[in-house]
Symmetry: D3
Subunit: 320 residues, 6 copies
Amino acid sequence: MDKMYGELTVLSGTANEALAGDVCRYLGIEPLPADIFQFPNENVFCRLHRSVRAKDVFVIQPMCSPVNKNIMELLIMIDCLRRDSTGRITAEVPYYAYGRTDKKYQPRVPITARLLADLITVAGADRFLTVDLHARQIQGFFTIPVDELTALYMFADYITELGLEQPIVVAPDVGAVRRARNFATRLNAPLAIIEKRRHADGNGMEMLNLIGDVAHRSAIIIDDEVDTGSTLTRAAAYVQTYGAERVYACVTHPILSADAAQSIRDSVIEKLVVTDTVPIAPEKRNLLGDRLEVLHIGPLLGEIIRRIHEGISVGDMFPE
Amino acid sequence: MDKMYGELTVLSGTANEALAGDVCRYLGIEPLPADIFQFPNENVFCRLHRSVRAKDVFVIQPMCSPVNKNIMELLIMIDCLRRDSTGRITAEVPYYAYGRTDKKYQPRVPITARLLADLITVAGADRFLTVDLHARQIQGFFTIPVDELTALYMFADYITELGLEQPIVVAPDVGAVRRARNFATRLNAPLAIIEKRRHADGNGMEMLNLIGDVAHRSAIIIDDEVDTGSTLTRAAAYVQTYGAERVYACVTHPILSADAAQSIRDSVIEKLVVTDTVPIAPEKRNLLGDRLEVLHIGPLLGEIIRRIHEGISVGDMFPE
Amino acid sequence: MDKMYGELTVLSGTANEALAGDVCRYLGIEPLPADIFQFPNENVFCRLHRSVRAKDVFVIQPMCSPVNKNIMELLIMIDCLRRDSTGRITAEVPYYAYGRTDKKYQPRVPITARLLADLITVAGADRFLTVDLHARQIQGFFTIPVDELTALYMFADYITELGLEQPIVVAPDVGAVRRARNFATRLNAPLAIIEKRRHADGNGMEMLNLIGDVAHRSAIIIDDEVDTGSTLTRAAAYVQTYGAERVYACVTHPILSADAAQSIRDSVIEKLVVTDTVPIAPEKRNLLGDRLEVLHIGPLLGEIIRRIHEGISVGDMFPE
Amino acid sequence: MDKMYGELTVLSGTANEALAGDVCRYLGIEPLPADIFQFPNENVFCRLHRSVRAKDVFVIQPMCSPVNKNIMELLIMIDCLRRDSTGRITAEVPYYAYGRTDKKYQPRVPITARLLADLITVAGADRFLTVDLHARQIQGFFTIPVDELTALYMFADYITELGLEQPIVVAPDVGAVRRARNFATRLNAPLAIIEKRRHADGNGMEMLNLIGDVAHRSAIIIDDEVDTGSTLTRAAAYVQTYGAERVYACVTHPILSADAAQSIRDSVIEKLVVTDTVPIAPEKRNLLGDRLEVLHIGPLLGEIIRRIHEGISVGDMFPE
Amino acid sequence: MDKMYGELTVLSGTANEALAGDVCRYLGIEPLPADIFQFPNENVFCRLHRSVRAKDVFVIQPMCSPVNKNIMELLIMIDCLRRDSTGRITAEVPYYAYGRTDKKYQPRVPITARLLADLITVAGADRFLTVDLHARQIQGFFTIPVDELTALYMFADYITELGLEQPIVVAPDVGAVRRARNFATRLNAPLAIIEKRRHADGNGMEMLNLIGDVAHRSAIIIDDEVDTGSTLTRAAAYVQTYGAERVYACVTHPILSADAAQSIRDSVIEKLVVTDTVPIAPEKRNLLGDRLEVLHIGPLLGEIIRRIHEGISVGDMFPE
Amino acid sequence: MDKMYGELTVLSGTANEALAGDVCRYLGIEPLPADIFQFPNENVFCRLHRSVRAKDVFVIQPMCSPVNKNIMELLIMIDCLRRDSTGRITAEVPYYAYGRTDKKYQPRVPITARLLADLITVAGADRFLTVDLHARQIQGFFTIPVDELTALYMFADYITELGLEQPIVVAPDVGAVRRARNFATRLNAPLAIIEKRRHADGNGMEMLNLIGDVAHRSAIIIDDEVDTGSTLTRAAAYVQTYGAERVYACVTHPILSADAAQSIRDSVIEKLVVTDTVPIAPEKRNLLGDRLEVLHIGPLLGEIIRRIHEGISVGDMFPE
């Protein structure tokens, strides 16, 4: 064991205090007491109740709604820690927003996923820890060390226990193919892909194509994030059209923006399996009812944090 | 004239498009056409309609409500410009949020005003242009060149035209003293100061003291920003108690958070003179009615931008 | 036109002087005269024959074999330019090596594609210009502006002219799906995908699966780079097994390492269409004979360079 | 206790070896033996007698006269420590020069207080520790953690013991108001302010105004630094004119440049209370005689250093 | 002992595994198991078999042939370590290539020795450790701490044991004079210098001059590096012409490029004494036979590494 | 001509206003009007009278006595220029102090010459221009472009005109050998070297050795800087002892610290030829009388500045 830093400490922002609580319970510690709030003029403020000099602090803050406020809160907490001479600051961001803005797929657009990495670094983070990035290349947007966890193993265990007959993994668009392939490998199941493309007459409409054969199979759609749910529900309807008997979906980050919860409730998806990297509003939970299965990622995060603190390999936890 | 960069170009974020319009009218140009919007998942996106290669771009974006979203939007616009090979990027931020978090007045707090400067710089801004910072030392939080304008001259002209008898300038707290002294010098008026301090028994209550003599005078309270309005309205009531006959207030940035508009309407302040660095919601304008006087800062900003673009002195515009 | 920099200048490294020659011919200029060579101790040296003070210099150097020497040569040329007060340095790297090391797909490995971006930046490049990156996210590994061109349009024109019946685009592995989808969209053709995965018993062998239907169709395999050719030739054989009538391959960067040329000559691939971002050794050209079609990318690069120099939009060249 | 670094070590520059001695005595250690001197060509040199690999080194060097030589000496000592692989370097600068150049109050001037922060950081300091900055915003000029101590508590204890009747705290100019308010709060005394402004006819002369009522009171003027003494002595004369019965002054840094000592001796100030952050030349001490009271700040600095070394809260030492 | 970091760990690149083995044997540890190899496309890859979180890692990699590949391998190993959260990374580069490109001795050339320092730093090294730089000023090309060892003591011991009569140290060119003076001081021997200059008629030919008197003496030529051997063999012949009875050469880095081994074998040099900072190919060893004496530097490097790890002075090992 | 920046502008610090005047006369411009002075507390201040937005500014400031104050003044002027949005800042430092602290020749010392380069860069300089560095490797301490001029050509012309019989160039210590060789080449004269080394019994005394034959020759000692003059005068006496008939000295920077002028006057040196990179105090000029010959470097500097401004090669001015 090679421990370079002081006491293991967890600071939770306001974005997902329940998850931070799970992590702390796993670690057997209390979160660092602090006031984190907005003044009437919306300025976020942060005051720690105890000194963090030389300590090994993990800031837990997913970039969920309100997204931009939570990002600023994260940066401000990091600045606060740095200026109090923290030994080491790990930004623990279970959900990384702006992941889809990770390249210039057209001219004159930003690469916000890289910008965010620079903001986190300039604020003073020493390390970065996250779960299921939209693209793994985002790791390379950082120069500080990144540990990226995945919920795929949890999803695979869950699906395996269901004992589905003839499962097939479905990538709902070309961006999800690699993730779907990895998931299919683990389930020892075949793979199908839904491909979206613009209509040839340039009217802006998208057409779907299904590549692979889903007939008489249980389709498990996999993705990193469910936003408005339209990709997911259209994919589900589409595979059903092509003969899939049942449709499941495994998605790490349940963003569920706009009327996503209603759309999914109205869809053919039997079960939406997600993690709690981001909180789900109670009314959305109610709307989804039994269709929603939330897997708890806190213990996994807690174990990773323990290993990072103690200088033990994180990679050894995951076969690959 | 020493012009190093390409065509003068203005890009407006969504925070204050009216002001950007004024600036463009003054300059006789159109704002750069661009899509700037939020996806359903709140992620801000920016796409320029025209190339900005080598151009001299000024991004106009005050950090007003929604504060944190507007900050992120600013940073994303800068990143977008940088990646399109803009010649020079000037962040034109008429209102700088988080100005009060400019030092550690107690242990274990952030210095967010410095953090913001670092974020703007790492995003790729080459220069910074702003109006009436909370503390002028914030200029030193940047290494890129900063031009700070002031609305004091506009306020002085306005007040002078009123032809008030026996005016006295009032600093509503010790942080505003230097600004009040400068304003008083320009008006050739005396100065009074309201000092807040905690109660000696540590019960957290604040007591006010008035230093200076306001009796039978027209008090003009000066400040950089009106937030909830409590500092301003308490100061107004206080000077009235001590004999001030009329009370005016000159404040650069009309944040007017919470029920500030109602409080001011209910106060003894006859006239609240502000600028349009930040937009005022129509219902607040209605509430304040004739008590509110908005001075237009667009032409001044436009002139500054023209001078910066053409390499002409900005400082020469202001006597000091 | 917004021209900030001095005379347009091209400096060619030793990696692909023929391509640099094409670019210069397009631009109607001579390459900058310079000595670039290795001393007997393999140390690369560079001496410019003319001053480049204030000039707008494009360094043309793909990272082809000898890869690491060519990378160092690129960095040394950039350092040389910087120290001679060049106005602006654009690293024009038509082929970016180490693109497959763009993420940590397993623990304890480097992200060399990011490291390279940092090396190029610290050496002093102001901009980066490349062709068909392995993953577009590599753009975000840079903070300096990146322009990424694609050969897809050239390939699409070539294939369209062939007038193939029932073409289908084939992604030879999951990493190539997005590129294949874009190509298929342009050709208005369907898409098939070959998926590699490890054998379930962990013996390290890879199994292929074909997703999609290639029977009686002309398969066009698309990829960014052909290295040893094993992915390509296995994919070709595989689609033939599943009924494809003819097999073509379009690959931007003809690395052709080991005995790739012989493998392809022995394969069912009728035509390997590539560009000349990297030179092909004469013996490989001979071996491949008519099977090889090399499209010349010099004029496209020249036009881009002209536009960048003159401050004209590059994005407008490409519909998307 | 979270101790990350090696042995606690103090390196004293030549600026205030007496203070460094006090600090070491408090800590029960010897200063690091070193040769620090100037060659005949004025080049400062530094050679440590013992290795500081991995040690936790505090460099004690106020920026007092000769100011610029002492600054360079500080930077050179930091470079020397960094290159010898010191574990952590804390620049302990009890007096920070150039504090008044902390903003552009007119165009075309430097912000030297920020420049200094950058110099200290680029030389290699990891942390910064100082006493009573001219403006607390200077903390934000640093990105490395800053601890700012204050002598206000020591002054308050001293004044309280004097048992003055009807004390009033006087800010000698508007820049000192916040400090004076804090001091007045602690003494539970009222506040008066002297305001300087230029004459209306622009002849460059300054006029003083007294805001507040000092009649029949014991005035205690507070400031961060006494330079030529003219601000202080004019303020003292002025409050006496307005009826103050006795005049004291509490000033953290006794710079006493030009003939400050003589001016103060000739003034109505009964007692000038200072600290020993900077040394006072013997002839000035003699001149001031009993009027001068020097409070020793070494033990306070020593205690802070001990806490920083041991990872204990510094903030807890001070109520606020 | 002040140990800040975790377990002492050595990672060897492929450049000189024998030397790394010697170092590990001295330290009583095994090298870190890792796969370091080139793919068929020459891309270097690195995969560590064990986690290095928080460990104190020394990467041993001289920049010998193949020079540019070994440099890239070094940088990639450092990136790999950094991204696995190594506690501290020391680049241990026993031979630093490009040392002769350490200044612009003519216009429009690079300073590659500085560039290399920046590459190593940006890749993530925390410290640098090397042997006999071409110019000691190269230390200043780094901001990270540098320890430079010298083989002079080993050479002096070897020569002293030979018991030569009337030894004289010879600098083979003006760049070697300082090194030769230091060596001569240690041997208590006089010094002679060979000076090369261009022919006055500008025909590019070099003329040699001998300064000092070598007649009837045993000449010991000293240099940092033997490359093609032409400097060395010409110097040897030259001193013989002027009457030297025997000629020895002590050179730290036996690069021996081109036909250096044959030239030396054909020369009047009786003994070429070198170290094993870089490996010597067996055929060159055979060619040189008894004329070659290789001193083992592994134990010295091992001791230095032990001291750096344990926070003990390195400088104390060497009198000066 | 490739002119990227605005008007050519010269800002002179207080270190050598006469030289700046010469440069301006050559360029046919007036120096930028500015107030540069010290407050009574020794704080240097700088205020420009005219805007420098977008201009191409050269700051002329040698690092002569008072050395550390002049260095700070240089940095403060650069900061001032940067914050006023100067187009390009070239630090023109005709004499670079601390050049002898360019390496760690013993443990636990700084490398101040590198530190200075970092200070100049962090203050905001874009380019660096200097004359005869102590070691040319100091160029590599900068990442910004460096132009180093030499006075050797001026010295060679002067000496040639003297028409000395049998001249020999003498390096007064091993550090000056390369410079002396270059000078000798230009004069087509032989070379002699004086070597200093410590006494074998470690008593700290230095012994001199002369290598080469100076008998009956006119010795011209060459060095970059004359400080206390002891190296020079001892060398002069030494070569006379060995039979030199006349002794001259050519030294670029006449620092002349301590009683250097008197020592030289008392020495056998017939003529001390220097440049005016640094001013010589009148009393020293008087003391030296006809022995001193000051060559004016202003026109050369002026020409270089003109070329840099206009983007013309500087290197072409000097054959090599």
